[in-house]
Amino acid sequence: MSEQVKDAILLASMPKALNGKEFTYCPGCHHGIVHRLVAELIDEFGLREKTLLVAPVGCSVFAYEFFDVDGTVAPHGRALAVATGMKRAKPEMFVLTYQGDGDLAAIGTAETIHAANRGERVTTVFINNAVYGMTGGQMAPTTLLGMKTTTSPYGRDPKREGYPIHMMEIMRALPGVAYAERVKVSRPQDVPKAKMAIKKAFYAQLLDVGFGIVEVLSTCPTNWGMDPVEASRWLEENMVKEFPLGVYVDKVTEVMKEKGVK
């Protein structure tokens, strides 16, 4: 191989902000893809020594063990309160939360909305996989109507279990939000787009504009009971309908232009 390598340019390999530890995610779980994007951006911005990562309780509870940055794990749902505490105490740090839908949009609703509404200078990556992955596939606030989970065994019925919650739409009503976009990573073409979205959410913090959040529609092959490729297809066909992709809030691009950053 090494001879072959000499004749070649390295295009893509494990980012430095990952420490190489194997992820604990199931085969094909999108958590890993998003981890890599976040790590790439930490590398590109040179933020490794300034970043504080707040992991949630959820499948990504171990996130802080995979990144080569200082980190902690917040109580379930409270990542944005922990992040607020960090950022207020040390405004010079770059504070990042990484959260699932149960964490951010169920138990953590109040913390999420108020951190966003206060315009905390923190960045949030929000993995919406429509279930509670960690605990075994229970209904999440984002579970689709009709979808069967271990706690909605008869399919989610709005009369009984209510409606899927739309966090980006809610973000639109909160003046403290500087950037909010919903993306997916189920096809290769999506991945650079998702990365650009997260980049803007980084800028929301780095340029002192406000709160930045990116919702990533993601698969949970294990709890959906599908193989990883099938799960990605299912996401395309079902989740995107319920959760329209796109930019919901953008006060960042303008500031980027003003300050001449790209």
């Binding site: 604990t24 995610y25 199931c26 499948c59 992955g133 960690m134 075994g136 294990t222």
Partner: protein
């Protein structure tokens, strides 16, 4: 006499059912039994295991650190549980899924190409029952009759269609094990 058993493999390989059938068969034989699954993030990454205790006395703890009989369905489970097996213990492994050799010399090893056998019987899914047959034949934890009764209890409704296949799988597994004893 106390059988302290661990069965381990990928989720979907039926290791949980494997353990439950043994426990149920034990109950049918009026033994004291407990069954305990692994749970939580241990189960992510697709691996799963369960612990079964079958005993003449009430079971103190359903948790087993050092099993004396293990049924192993995939490579990571072999790596994890082989070292914990008690001296002189029994290891039954599915060689259709495991292309490596056990390291211990102080244990009894039974090798069953369970997937291949089950496939021949008509459904690869029955591989766990092939393993079960081999396991009870080797460990004598419960009798074939009790296992059959347990299967009859468990396999009702739609699943009843598989009862016969499963019984044949158990018998096939017993036969293969006997050949190695």
């Amino acid at each position: 006499m106390e059988h302290r058993i661990i069965a381990a493999g990928f989720g979907g390989q039926g290791v949980m059912l494997f353990g439950q059938i043994i426990a149920l068969a034990g109950m049918i034989e009026d033994k004291h039994v407990t069954w305990l699954p692994s749970y939580g993030p241990e189960m992510r990454g697709g691996t799963a295991n369960c612990t079964v205790v079958v005993s003449d006395d009430p079971v103190a703890s359903p948790v087993v650190d050092m099993p004396n009989e293990i049924a192993i369905f995939n490579i990571p489970s072999l790596l994890k549980f082989e070292p914990t097996l008690a001296e002189g213990g029994i290891l039954v492994m599915n060689t259709s899924m495991i292309d490596r050799e056990p390291q211990r010399k102080d244990i009894k090893v039974i090798k069953i190409a369970a997937n291949d056998v089950a496939e021949k019987l008509g459904n690869v899914k029955a591989q766990n029952m092939v393993m079960l047959g081999a396991f009870i034949e080797t460990t004598k934890v419960v009798s074939k009759e009790s296992v059959f009764k347990a299967l009859e209890k468990k396999m009702t409704g739609k699943k009843a269609a598989f009862l016969d296949l499963n019984k044949r799988a158990v018998e096939e597994g017993m036969k293969l094990a006997r050949e190695q004893l």
